[in-house]
Symmetry: C2
Subunit: 663 residues, 2 copies
Amino acid sequence: MPRSVPALPEGIDPAWLPPEAFRALGARRTLIRGSGPLVETVHGEVADACGRFGGEVVRGGGTVAPYDLVMEVTDADHLGDEGFTCGRAGSTTTVTASGQRGLLYGLFHVVRLGEEAFRGERPRAVHRPAVAPRMLDHWDNVDVHPVMGQVERGYAGGSLFWRDGRARGEVERVRAYGRLLAACGINAVAVNNVNVHATEARLLTDRLGDVAVLADALRPYGIRVHLSVTFAAPVVLGGLPTADPLDTAVRQWWARAVRGVYAAIPDFGGFVVKADSEGQPGPFTYGRSHADGANMLAAALAPHGGTVHWRAFVYDHRQDWRDRTTDRARAAYDHFAPLDGEFADNAVLQVKHGPMDFQVREPVSPVLGAMPRTRLAVEVQATQEYTGQQRHVCWLGPMWSEVLRFRPEGEDGPSVGELARGGLVAVSNAGDDPFWTGHPLAQANLYTVGRLAWEPDADPHRLLDEWIALTFPAAPERLVTGVRTLLRGSRRTYEKYTAPLGVGFMVQPGHHYGPSVDGYEYSPWGTYHFADRDGIGVDRSAATGTGYAAQYAEPWAARYESPGTCPDELLLFFHHVPYGHVLHSGTTVIQHIYDTHFEGVAEVEEARRVWASLADCVDPARHARVAERYEEQLRGAREWRDQVNSYFLRKSGVPDEHGRTVY
Amino acid sequence: MPRSVPALPEGIDPAWLPPEAFRALGARRTLIRGSGPLVETVHGEVADACGRFGGEVVRGGGTVAPYDLVMEVTDADHLGDEGFTCGRAGSTTTVTASGQRGLLYGLFHVVRLGEEAFRGERPRAVHRPAVAPRMLDHWDNVDVHPVMGQVERGYAGGSLFWRDGRARGEVERVRAYGRLLAACGINAVAVNNVNVHATEARLLTDRLGDVAVLADALRPYGIRVHLSVTFAAPVVLGGLPTADPLDTAVRQWWARAVRGVYAAIPDFGGFVVKADSEGQPGPFTYGRSHADGANMLAAALAPHGGTVHWRAFVYDHRQDWRDRTTDRARAAYDHFAPLDGEFADNAVLQVKHGPMDFQVREPVSPVLGAMPRTRLAVEVQATQEYTGQQRHVCWLGPMWSEVLRFRPEGEDGPSVGELARGGLVAVSNAGDDPFWTGHPLAQANLYTVGRLAWEPDADPHRLLDEWIALTFPAAPERLVTGVRTLLRGSRRTYEKYTAPLGVGFMVQPGHHYGPSVDGYEYSPWGTYHFADRDGIGVDRSAATGTGYAAQYAEPWAARYESPGTCPDELLLFFHHVPYGHVLHSGTTVIQHIYDTHFEGVAEVEEARRVWASLADCVDPARHARVAERYEEQLRGAREWRDQVNSYFLRKSGVPDEHGRTVY
């Protein structure tokens, strides 16, 4: 029985799967061969499209007939569960897959190709995801957290899964969400926040049924659910006196708990764990290592095929700002690199892409090049915590691509995308907002992150164009060009009007929205810029600084070590320099600060103008929502510009060369 | 029937009314003459004391007998309802009062005198409060506010009146509270926050019964209750389309509401109103003046003898930090001085003691000298919002006394205490904490504010000694000396380690605890210090600044106008000066910053030592609570010292003359 396509609740945006995107497919005659639940999903999709656009779908037919598209599960190709091939000969396009999931991904590939899929000849090409899992972490709380709310760092309304302490039970919306995710290649979702509070802890035990409902909704789109668990679960849920990972009773408790989970959710993905981090409990309490902790959970999950994602975000969040020798940037490497080779095969070490915390500009985490014998996953934030909170446009594709294409051992070595055998994990930016992501253009981040997980070396601009073509089908060229322009430059624009030259932060404490240059300067969080009347930046060199630069292999260690070779955009991350220091660009640091902040605002003004000019070719609700957010972005950008410029004029005493207004 | 003394719930500190404080009275033979409910309160108090200490109380007896104390209500003296006389001839001490309240205050006067009341001769002296009402404003919310909590700016646990949306109904504790307040002279309590939210608005109407319960509990101690109301009540409660104060239907609505209040609470005190301030609605909405707004409520209250307290805390809290011409300090004067003479007799204009917001050092508000034809009340904060939040010791008696003794027209003119015919209003620092005020030593603030309201020109050190004698009866001299030392210097110590030279703020945004030098520098709140690499301070002169200094009469306008004559402690409030500017004290501004911050911490260290040395003569619970808070104060003071010093070293580049550590 073909599985029906989820009905989008009234008023909810179809995002990158509007009916029109299925026109080419839906107008054709398609044969589907194979069996299993995901083949039924594929059948349902094609049938739904054909219902709209006059095509036809045939199931399994033995004899060859004049089909426009043949989709077939066959184990001839050994492409794994997720790979597929696509080619076209004569007047037939053929998609083959070794597994049902591959067929599903092949379907969405055909959708992306649109009419192209049915034109001319097309050599048979193999498509296979680079990594698995390709995962979204939802920082969704079950209970509304008194400070963090329903979704921690969520900027798209409430949670799709939970509300006010209970499961929402809106299965159709969750199915529609899973469909969107499958269409960009996501195959795993962690359904609760890595900060696991009392109620959320119980998802592992007596509230497991709520998780099973989500698993059932997402399974037809090839998505497995994962659960964030508290390391202290044996104590807080099991009543044991300890959560020591080497304690037999603890290990038995976890094994039993995991058996319970798999009884309810046979294809359960595994656990996500934030341990010994920002107040969460962990193995350090018992004098054990992170490998001990992770491996204990891995052992419990292994018999069932599950994975533990162990986050490497471990640092001292009670740092003394007076102490310039402690460097938060060093922490993940210092904690984890010595453990390389000690993690179990089904333990994934989940490493933030940069050494700090999802700033708009950071160097790539040195951990990603330092643990070849560990399954590493790269963690990125689709949710725009520090990048405008989905009120500002900031398409992060180029940044993620830079990370994934970074080669820790130089040009001849492997890329991060190749090294990260544990996959790509993104913190979700989706919520119950009608546009899913608050800012309609922020959908591009969610789409891009899924596609990059599948194909880490992809040109992000190509993925952006895919998103535009799907989201605005049959759009006039000026809309395509306009949206492309707005998004391509948006990260650089955001960077321009916020913290300069890689120094990071300068945000309002707590909520992290809007500027506060000294907001974290005298805090315990380890995120400082050290600006004084003479200069700014953090000396992370090995020669005179914290030694962080030496955590990299060559050529990066040497390149970052000296202000003379350090890339401009990371200069203040690695060096404390005078305001008069001349950048490779030829301008001084102080003048660069002024220039970029004026430019950033001008670029937002221009972006707002471009968007306004597209009013006639975008549906009114979407246009209004984006227009309203551009107003806020412009207000915010001006506030950033003026606060940052004023701060540095007051401190440096150096006037703007061009005599522009600095307050 | 004598009214029984309220039973203090288990574990609740008796504060300045421990049983021992009644020893002298309780060991005597007392005659009480007069009738009425408050006379019964007095009778109950004396009877309770006699029950403990072996004395005797006789009621009304016609013939003279050998009494140690005679307390009598007689209208011979015309002292008003609250005045009393006290004298001693032969072996009899006599207290007379024209009204019942006077007798109650006379009783607590005798308690304060202790054995002194019964020694030698004592000429008959008249005691009369300078002003009425002497009021506490409770910023207590009925519902827990999502940001501000149960008590806005409360640092002493929950509210004594409300919990989680309901009246607490702990009448005995409220009675005990009323007794403490009466013993220091308070006669009015506003029972809810001046920021009136939805639930609190209904205290005026369908939840009036909750207020009546409080009124019943407080009445026997001579205290009238007041209610904070929202100016928008006719709209939000009455369903009218407007709250225009000149609209007939609005006036009728208020008249009817007030009649309802007085039907339930015949001695109701009146309303407190925060209008057109920080988001609260007000007459500006309707193009009316604050006098129109206040007078409309005054008219509704007048037939019943009620008063409206109309707060003068009106300013633009959406200021643009870029705009240096707007000056929040000017706002109250600019708004209200032109309205002098326009307010009704039963309207009190409630003016914060300084032009900003309860900083540890501000000049006296120029409004207090500028409205001779208006009943002004001085508003102070017993709750230590900006002065250490009852985790730091900061006895504010000297500051309040400075305000009350300030003479706006110079030495020959009247003092603020004389000008403020509308009384003294303090924001309460009490809550359901076992010590009432969180920090046990913060009780001294509550006591002092009541006593200063009664006698504004009192030497605050004398009032402090009263509090010590009552709170620590029969204490060894070194305890008395120790506590006196700790409290006397505490405000100056707090000032030393926080914002320098009157510039104010530099606190963490939102909660206002702990340092953040730039925390409000680029905010919309109008509270800036304008520090740059060359200097610091706000130019409020008439010649080159905002003109605020000219809001004063002479000699103050001229004195504040010039850095040469401006008092050191207010220099940065009135002037922007270079870091090298030499103070009257002989040191430079920058060195003063370093010196005072090191001194402030040293003084806290010394205070902690002194308190530790008193462990043997303070009860353990109280000693432990204070000792624990001194630890936090010391931590906090060090944080203030280091952040402020580092900030100014980084900005000025001037090293500390004495080579001490600045980070």
